[in-house]
Symmetry: C2
Subunit: 393 residues, 2 copies
Amino acid sequence: MMQNFVFHNPTKVVFGQDTIQQLDQLIPTNARVLVLLGGQSAKTNGTLDLVRQALGNRQVSEFNGIEPNPTYETLMEAVAQVKREQIDYLLAVGGGSVIDGTKFVAAAAVFDGDPWDILTSWGKAVTRALPLGVVLTLPATGSETNCNAVVTRRATHSKRPFNSPHVYAQFAVLDPTRTYTLPKRQIANGLADAFVHIIEQYLTYPVQAMAQDRFAEGLLQTLIELAPGALADQPDYQQRANLMWTASLALNGLLATGVPQDWATHMIGHELTARYGIDHARTLAMVLPALMQVQRHTKHAKLLQYAERVWHITTGDDAERIDEAIARTRQFFESLGIGTTLRDYDLDERAIDEVVAQLIQHGMVALGEHQDITPDVSRRILSLALGAANQAA
Amino acid sequence: MMQNFVFHNPTKVVFGQDTIQQLDQLIPTNARVLVLLGGQSAKTNGTLDLVRQALGNRQVSEFNGIEPNPTYETLMEAVAQVKREQIDYLLAVGGGSVIDGTKFVAAAAVFDGDPWDILTSWGKAVTRALPLGVVLTLPATGSETNCNAVVTRRATHSKRPFNSPHVYAQFAVLDPTRTYTLPKRQIANGLADAFVHIIEQYLTYPVQAMAQDRFAEGLLQTLIELAPGALADQPDYQQRANLMWTASLALNGLLATGVPQDWATHMIGHELTARYGIDHARTLAMVLPALMQVQRHTKHAKLLQYAERVWHITTGDDAERIDEAIARTRQFFESLGIGTTLRDYDLDERAIDEVVAQLIQHGMVALGEHQDITPDVSRRILSLALGAANQAA
């Protein structure tokens, strides 16, 4: 049965070419703005210039250097700058890491107590935050239109999610042309990340949430259709516009309405990133096909629906259809140039022990829509994800 | 090419069984609340009692009698009550007509000047409104999660839409069990109304808005799957929950992002309702199949996509596929017990002249996604919608 739900997404999406200039209407004229940035790309590709032009005479300072998988340690430096400069508006210019980091800074800058509690409480301790806006440059995580963030504590290899309604961006400017200079690797990662976000909210057990299932299947089909052209040398507006909007819709809360959710692939993947520094999307591509295989009985009905509606698999018995759907999922990632086994990333059996130990240490001992992915089940998933030794040669 | 767009829907959806009690958290405790109602159903089926219980000790008064196709004349009585009683919060309890009417009251109660200007300006004259919330009892129009409304001036047979971001409901409570006492006629109308809302945002010309097309197709498929069970004697939670959420998603702004829109079926249908009092959804069912036929060349590409993805029509040449898709659309309405010709509603050739005259009088002279539906084209659509004389016998 469809579950009760609350859906409330107040972020204003401003989408299309030449929309950065609208920042002038979106941010109060008397705001003291901190622009938060990742690496150098927004500077070298001109996006930062457009942002600064649009902000006009406002007081604007910058915080540079939010890393992929943003760290608590770095973000606390930004918090110090916010306090020092009496900043009252945050503007994230970047992808999911910059946006996630900015959400944490928004909450931590006005938090009473130890800001690490924001993460240990999964965000429940957050009661207010500075207002924030987003200029998105990397379509992938959907962070621009949701209230989730993930922060890593470097010292402890601890990668922790939190969410709070207080950290929704007030607006998100999505200009597809600002993605034209992205490396192919990032576009591939974005496709894979969005794909798995949808799967986590869809591939569980049926609750007759008909519209939500159709939306999920529609977004998966869109990503599959986009994939062959995604790695072309010349960026294409249609391609980028569709990827950008699809990745936002994949995790803006809509697909999650009234349905069970999994997220085990993410939790296991986070440990792989925290321990070995592997790109987030690539960890998902390792874990997901193995998880589908290990959980094929509890996900039986939805796997068959996925096989038929997303991959149009209509022959074979149930087991064969499910095998084929899992194989197609793996091929999708591989077609993007993303390896799907631990060995593809030069990991071996030791990684299984290390990741399982981290899952236990971080309390990730009952994952998935049935909370039945214990550390033993995670071990089976990782073992299956290892890949054949000769493949690594 | 996908068009630039702004998407901003701030309404909080509270969905599921026993959610009316959450009104206590949703409305300020010191609010002076006016509950706006349609006919007697909310009183006789217990919904009003649940609302009053949830509102507790707040000051609550009622305005009864907002009619289907709410009239300016009636709504101005509510405006007078709001002013007389210094109401500061409006709560619509009902379906699309009550919600639309409440939006108008919210804007008119604080409007400087002649409130009819709200409608002649299509809503542009609205600069503020009283806060409002919704308890939905009839899934159909999507008004609960959008900022549109339609108001009729009885004196002039004038049915006019307006929209304004100021009239979004702050929240919409959607409890599927509160629809159980609806007459079958209203459920049928709801399915037809939602279906045409989707079509108006989908069946135009392709702009490669991939996710939006998939969403529209998914919602149309959902309505088609729901239809056979919709008129069953015993209401079913799954059925009603899916209809309720699908009808909201059909017109919450999401499908319209970045795409051209039509709305000619609605504009012509409005004149049929204003002149003859025919149910809104039934006027749409009359106009749409005829409009698809008359506009089949400008809608060629999308009609073929609709045929394939929604109706799974894969044989025949283009013209045959389009014919079949139009026939299936008509059959969908007929399967709900909704007639699709003017003669089904005891109208004859004179109605064509009368409706065309009204379209001209109301300035509806360049309708559709290409603004090419002139009064002459509307006449052809209405002539085709007339139906064979012997069918009426």
